[in-house]
């Protein structure tokens, strides 16, 4: 039934076009074959419908689709926080908790994990006891200085950013195992890997070419 309607419409259109052509004695006899930029079809050397090619305006770039809702699956501020202090069954939850709610949700379990890693922990090089230290770490955001040196730790400045070259593992190990002056448990306060295996650029994009 629909097919009949469709055919009828086409027939009507063609009939009317023929009528136009036949009734117009002044044209050049080529109305049906003329290529224009507003005829609603892709013809001539057009690259799209009525666009592109030698005669028409360029075709618009196809609009990109950025729609939809995006749901959080992973989160990271400081290096190794979830890896070291997250407990089995809580690591996924940590990744889908917003930082403003992390402290209340995870500080006590972080403290338990710290004491399990180093039962001798009293305080560390920053002078932080177990509760204060894990309170700082549980809210997983990286501090970044507005001005001046940015570094995880460079011997003077501490926790003002993170450079590609920073030995964040040794910093973490010292703060966990090194005691108040960093000298305790010396076999656990450095992994003796002090630099990356590729050289970074001093210019954008800074990270090194892939292997």
């Amino acid at each position: 039934m629909k097919t009949y309607k469709y055919i009828t419409i086409i027939v009507v259109i063609f009939t009317s076009l023929l009528f136009v052509q036949c009734s117009d004695d002044d044209d050049n006899g080529n109305v049906l074959g003329e290529v224009t930029c507003d005829d609603g079809i892709k013809n001539g050397d057009e690259t799209g419908i009525d666009c592109g090619g030698s005669a028409c305006e360029p075709c618009a770039v196809e609009a990109l689709d950025f729609s939809g809702n995006f749901q959080q699956e992973d989160q990271m501020g400081r290096p190794g926080i979830n890896t070291v202090f997250g407990t089995t069954g809580m690591k996924d939850a940590f990744n889908v908790t917003i930082p403003s709610e992390m402290g209340a949700a995870f500080q006590s379990s972080f403290e338990s994990n710290l004491m399990a890693l180093n039962p001798d922990y009293t305080t560390n090089l920053l002078g932080l006891d177990a509760t204060v230290f894990t309170t700082v770490l549980a809210s997983d955001a990286l501090w970044v200085a507005e001005t001046g040196v940015t570094t995880y730790y460079n011997g003077t400045e501490v926790l003002t950013g993170r450079n590609l070259t920073d030995d964040v593992i040794d910093v973490s190990l010292i703060l966990i195992f090194g005691g108040p002056d960093g000298s305790e448990k010396p076999t656990l306060t450095s992994d003796f890997v002090s630099s990356n295996d590729a050289t970074f650029s001093t210019s954008f994009p800074y990270v090194a070419s892939p292997f």
Partner: protein, 231 residues
């Protein structure tokens, strides 16, 4: 050679230790994201070559094998990576830079007023601030916008370094002597996918003091990165 050593190390540790072995920094840090395209491996934030700028680096999909064609290292068009910057010490982001792949390029957005402070995000296409063609090993592409932002996306060498094998041995109780000297970088020779944005500090605005209880007068941004998947 490095790959062989890497795989031998994994074999030596045994399957039970594998999940412990492969996590460090934030690489494969939790069961739900391990090995997926939303797995953030690392986050860096530092002053740029131009001291008026800050640089943010998010790495995803770690431990890409050495020598593997980087064409196999592909950003996921369903994964939105977000750089969050809090300036008021409430750990709620005040500035947000979003990055997502479309076709051969990475698109960047920076909503002027951030109403997306939770676990779900959308993209307002009108807030686009930049785009850069995704680089390959041989075709390195960067872009700069009128405000002085710089953009990069593509496979890079994993900047993380750690003797994670030995750390695993220590945790397993197999290494009473602690770390070896010298250690062995477990991440040597592996690649990641990097997204790098350089931002003029003037476009972020100044943070209020108080983030660091040890240095309360310091003006510090609280920064973190999130990976979100299209539902």
């Amino acid at each position: 050679m490095k790959k062989t050593k890497f795989l031998a190390a994994i074999g030596g540790l045994g399957l039970a230790a594998l999940s412990v072995f492969l996590i460090a920094a934030d690489h494969i840090d939790a069961p739900a994201v391990a090995g997926t395209s939303t797995d953030i491996t690392d986050f860096y934030a530092f002053q740029g070559e131009n001291p008026d700028n800050l640089v943010f680096v998010a790495n995803v999909q770690g431990l890409l094998a050495p020598g593997q064609p980087t064409e196999q290292a592909i950003f996921d068009e369903n994964v939105l990576v977000e750089f969050n910057i809090d300036k008021t010490n409430d750990l709620v982001e005040d500035e947000l830079i979003q990055a997502i792949k479309r076709n051969d390029s990475m698109y960047f957005f920076m909503p002027t007023t951030n109403s997306q402070t939770g676990l779900t995000s959308t993209i307002n296409a009108a807030t686009q601030i930049g785009v850069v063609k995704i680089s390959t090993t041989t075709d390195v592409q960067t872009s700069t916008n009128d405000d002085g932002f710089k953009f990069f996306a593509g496979p890079r060498e994993d900047p993380f370094f750690f003797d994670f094998v030995q750390y695993g041995e220590i945790l397993a109780g197999n290494a009473p002597g602690g770390f070896n000297n010298p250690g062995s970088d477990t991440f040597a020779g592996t690649n990641v996918l990097s997204i790098v944005v350089e931002v003029p500090k003037s476009k972020l605005g100044s943070p209020t003091p108080g983030a660091n209880p040890l240095n309360p007068s310091a003006r510090l941004y609280n920064a973190w990165v999130e990976a979100k998947r299209k539902q």
